[in-house]
């Protein structure tokens, strides 16, 4: 298990069913974290690391703002038809500081696992081929810092984070796999957002990335 510290100056993790007022989750869902890590290591096959477990924890307290923005929808296939555009409110989070918790123990071990690739990318960035800005949220929500927390056992005892962890009786459902086209194949897990000491996390509490 590794921790990846990430800072994102401005971001939004849009709730899946938000259509008119674009609400944000307080932290990125597991599917978003997985996509971010794939982008970091330059992996284009989203099925390459199925079976890894990943979740996000907040180190900073997120601050929400609301802006008015142009929102696109498809009413007319002609690009930029007037009916495809509408103004709408969007929630933004600023000055986010996160820890992404990643465990690759249940991945296919015959090939390099995601945790190894993330560590290697950050240690030897010259050896990784990747493209595009590294974003968490929308594409313009560029991250600023990424670094690996190498030794979890050496973390200070008081390092706590507010994280999404699996809980069958929890009140949150967040996606672990997103169907970007029809949403019928989007897969959710149930959990709670709780403040925990990072030293006490167990693998079973972290959502697993599995397609339907």
């Amino acid at each position: 298990m590794i921790g990846v510290r990430v800072t994102v100056p401005v971001s939004c993790f849009r709730k899946g069913y938000a259509r008119e007022y674009l609400e944000t989750h307080l932290l990125p869902p597991p599917a978003t974290c997985y996509g971010f890590l794939l982008s970091l290591v330059g992996e284009c096959d989203r099925k390459r690391h199925i079976g890894c477990r990943v979740t996000a924890g907040l180190i900073s307290t997120p601050v929400k703002s609301v802006v008015l923005r142009k929102v696109w929808r498809v009413k007319n296939p002609r690009p930029e038809a007037r009916e495809n555009i509408r103004p709408d409110y969007q929630e933004l989070l600023s000055n986010l500081e996160l820890v992404l918790w990643l465990d690759s123990a249940e991945e296919d071990r015959s090939r390099p696992t995601l945790d190894k690739r993330v560590s290697s990318t950050l240690e030897y960035p010259k050896h990784t081929h990747r493209y595009g800005g590294l974003s968490l949220g929308e594409s313009t929500h560029l991250v600023n810092d990424v670094s690996v927390i190498k030794e979890i056992s050496k973390l200070k005892g008081d390092l706590e984070a507010t994280m999404f962890l699996l809980d069958a009786r929890g009140e949150q459902t967040l996606p672990v796999w997103v169907d970007h086209v029809q949403s019928t194949n989007t897969r959710y897990v149930t959990g709670t957002i709780q403040t925990r000491n990072l030293n006490t996390l167990s693998r079973d509490e972290i959502p697993m990335i599995i397609p339907p």
Binding site: P77, P125, G132, N144
Partner: protein, 308 residues
């Protein structure tokens, strides 16, 4: 390996009424976000992209795929189906190459690849004001008859229409990320960086606030590191009059960033910022010279034409 070019730009000091939010009564409002605990005015990345595309349309011999038509208030397209991308030798446009595109009806099922979607190779961030917004509002009166929709009754052409306008005297900073090797034509990276160094107006409130987004100062970073680590690195301790980069220097001290990766550009060699960068041993020059230096370094690293 993948070479990344990152930049953080800061604009000159000016009075902004950019990229308005929803009008509140007869007050024309600014977009604001909470930033480090205080409300700061902000301009979206989309507004900056729009301005960049317009500049590229003027500069490029072959133009851009979409071009804003001021009369129709919509885009005129050269290749709305993006057919140029169907083959390796097809004619493509610089704006699609840099900023990406998507035809929403292209993907019918998950997992199928499509030539109608391309991710941006150049990403820009939201611009955030360098100083908090203190609540400045100007009082204005539109001339009699200038805004007939705002007045009712038979006297609608007789009286001026009073209104307020939120304004912010400040600088804006925003970031950029570019992976030049991912472009169909790598030389377009140089055009993009050059256009950003001469951006001109972004957003604005009709003709009254032509806020200049051409950088007053810029920090470039050329690196293989996937994280920029220089976004929003500018700050001001004197309400925006001058700019400093204390965070950036702390990053250099911690070893997160190597000094050889950085190039600084300033418009004033008498400024405290220039002294701060120079004293730290960072290669610093004028903004245009910094732009040329980045293009030169980039061309050597990946073998592209230095000049746009």
């Amino acid at each position: 390996m993948s070479l990344h070019v990152y930049a953080n730009f800061v604009t000159p000091y000016g009075t902004a009424a950019n990229n308005r939010a929803e009008t509140d009564g007869n007050i024309t409002t600014l977009q604001k976000i909470l930033w480090l605990g205080h409300p700061h005015s902000t301009v979206s990345a989309e507004a900056i992209r729009f301005s960049l595309r317009r500049r590229l349309a003027d500069l490029e011999d072959s133009g851009t795929n979409r071009r804003w038509n001021e009369t129709e208030r919509t885009n005129s397209w050269e290749d709305p189906e993006f057919r140029g991308w169907d083959t390796d030798s097809g004619k493509t446009y610089i704006d699609d190459d840099l900023l990406g595109y998507m035809r929403a009806e292209a993907a019918k099922t998950e997992g199928t690849t499509s030539t109608k979607v391309r991710r941006a190779v150049l990403e820009l961030t939201r611009a955030v004001s360098l100083t908090p917004w203190n609540g400045d509002v100007t009082f204005n009166a539109a001339s009699p008859g200038a805004t007939p929709a705002a007045v009712r009754g038979k006297d609608k052409f007789k009286h001026p229409v009073p209104y307020g306008c939120e304004v912010h005297a400040t600088r804006y900073q925003y970031g950029m990320s570019l992976t030049p090797e991912s472009l169909r034509e790598k030389s377009r990276a140089a055009s993009a960086i050059d256009a950003l160094c001469h951006l001109g107006t972004v957003a604005g409130n009709q003709g009254r606030f032509l806020y200049d987004f051409s950088p007053d100062a810029v920090v470039f970073r050329l690196t293989h590191d996937p994280a920029p680590r220089i976004l929003y690195c500018f700050e001001s301790n004197d309400h925006g009059k001058t700019v400093s980069v204390d965070q950036l220097l702390a990053r250099l001290d911690s070893g997160d960033i190597q000094i050889e990766e950085l190039i600084g550009g300033v418009s004033d060699f008498e400024s405290p910022l220039y002294q701060q960068l120079k004293n730290r041993g960072l290669e610093t020059m004028g903004v245009k010279a910094a732009c040329a230096s980045v293009l030169d370094r980039m061309s050597k690293l990946i073998g592209i034409e230095a000049q746009p």
